[in-house]
């Protein structure tokens, strides 16, 4: 069930497994949906209520470890601004796609879990546009 829509000023983190970030280079494949997925899984950083980005990333790493048991060393965390991502996709996609991000907590391990909606699994162009709005990326494990 969808919760609150994330404000444009807030930020999200996307776990990019090594197969989508070879040699640490994140590709558009990291923002493609699996055929059975409704939304692209992300984490709402401001929800974590941390004092700085470094602390947010530490918190996110902890969430991934608890949720997935083991996070590959070569996985990356991509950080994006919600408004920049949504506006870029709207302005630059051929169909003026309006992607939206909703809070969708995955309790108990992942209360900041959110999803990007209005994507399709054949949206390589949208995935490449989203990739362009990545602000920074970090290793997904210490």
């Amino acid at each position: 069930m969808r919760g609150q829509r994330l404000p444009d000023r807030d930020h999200i983190a996307r776990l990019c497994p090594p197969k989508t970030a070879p040699n640490g280079i994140i590709t558009g494949a990291a923002f493609l949906l699996k055929p059975n997925e409704d939304g692209l899984s992300v984490n709402w950083l401001e929800f974590l209520n941390c004092s700085c980005r470094d602390n947010e990333i530490k918190e996110i790493r902890g969430i991934y470890t608890r949720k997935f048991n083991r996070v590959p060393k070569a996985a990356r965390i991509a950080v994006l601004n919600v408004g920049t991502m949504c506006n870029t996709v709207f302005e630059q996609s051929p169909d003026n796609r309006r992607v939206v991000v909703y809070h969708k907590p995955d309790l108990p391990d992942d209360p900041s879990h959110s999803e990007v909606f209005n994507l399709r699994d054949d949206n390589e162009l949208i995935a490449e546009l989203i990739l362009r709005t990545v602000l920074e990326d970090y290793p997904a494990s210490d």
Partner: protein, 232 residues
């Protein structure tokens, strides 16, 4: 299935890491042994079953692994003792995947074959690690990619990644935010994305996407002059 007759001393010797820089192997013996054997019998090139003739027919698995380091491509071998019950886990599809990667590595007409094969091995391992159900790279996608790079052997080395459903996803990134990405689907079809500066207004960007088959991809994007900057 090919079997290497060996003894424990030889296993110890084989456990010494072999490092390959480009085409030069510092320990060519094991690789020549394994690769050459496979070239002749078409069995799995990267996964050999090795019975010991001194250890009561204990079966060992020799697996070629690849690690990319800052100074080059680093290959090593790992020898793992396995039980007969694990023999059943040998997956036919996995063998085909390994064979295709081997053929890429051995195809002299493929540019960057060593690097591409090494990257594919990484990706295959990562895909299998991610979920226990994954057989690794989607075989149909890999086959199309293999056929594609055989047809187009003068391309710059792309960034190779896998989609969530383990299909091959290639990306070339060029100057002025040029981008060409190709998603090899499980059949012969591909979906592609092109970002390029507008010919008349270079400050503006043109963006295209489409679907075709891998064998006519070049023709499908010819109007966007993609091959001009992804070729060498």
């Amino acid at each position: 299935m090919y079997q290497i007759q060996s003894n424990d001393e030889e296993f110890k010797r084989k456990q010494i890491e072999s490092i390959i820089y480009g085409y030069r192997s510092l320990d060519p013996v094991i690789y020549h042994e394994v690769w050459a054997c496979n070239a002749s019998n078409q069995s799995n090139p990267l996964c050999e079953w090795v019975p010991s003739d001194v250890a009561n027919n204990v079966i060992y698995q020799v697996t070629a692994a690849v690690n990319e380091k800052s100074y080059g491509i680093h290959y090593s071998t790992a020898i793992t003792k396995i039980t007969p019950s694990q023999l059943g886990l040998l997956n036919v599809e996995d063998e085909k995947i390994q064979n295709l990667i081997f053929h890429i590595r051995m195809s002299s007409q493929i540019s960057y074959r060593e690097r591409i094969a090494a990257n594919l091995l990484f990706l295959n391992d990562y895909a299998k690690e991610e979920t226990s159900e994954s057989a690794g790279i989607n075989l149909g996608s890999l086959q199309s990619f293999y056929d594609f790079i055989q047809i187009h052997n003068n391309l710059k080395c792309p960034i190779i990644s896998l989609t969530p459903d383990d299909n091959i996803y290639l990306s070339w990134r060029g100057e002025k935010n040029r981008l060409f990405s190709v998603h090899f689907l499980s059949g012969e079809e591909v979906r592609f994305v092109v970002f390029k500066p507008n010919d008349m207004h270079p400050e503006k960007e043109d963006r295209f996407s489409g679907k075709t088959t891998y064998d006519v991809l070049k023709e499908a994007v010819i109007q966007y002059h993609v091959w001009d900057w992804i070729s060498e």
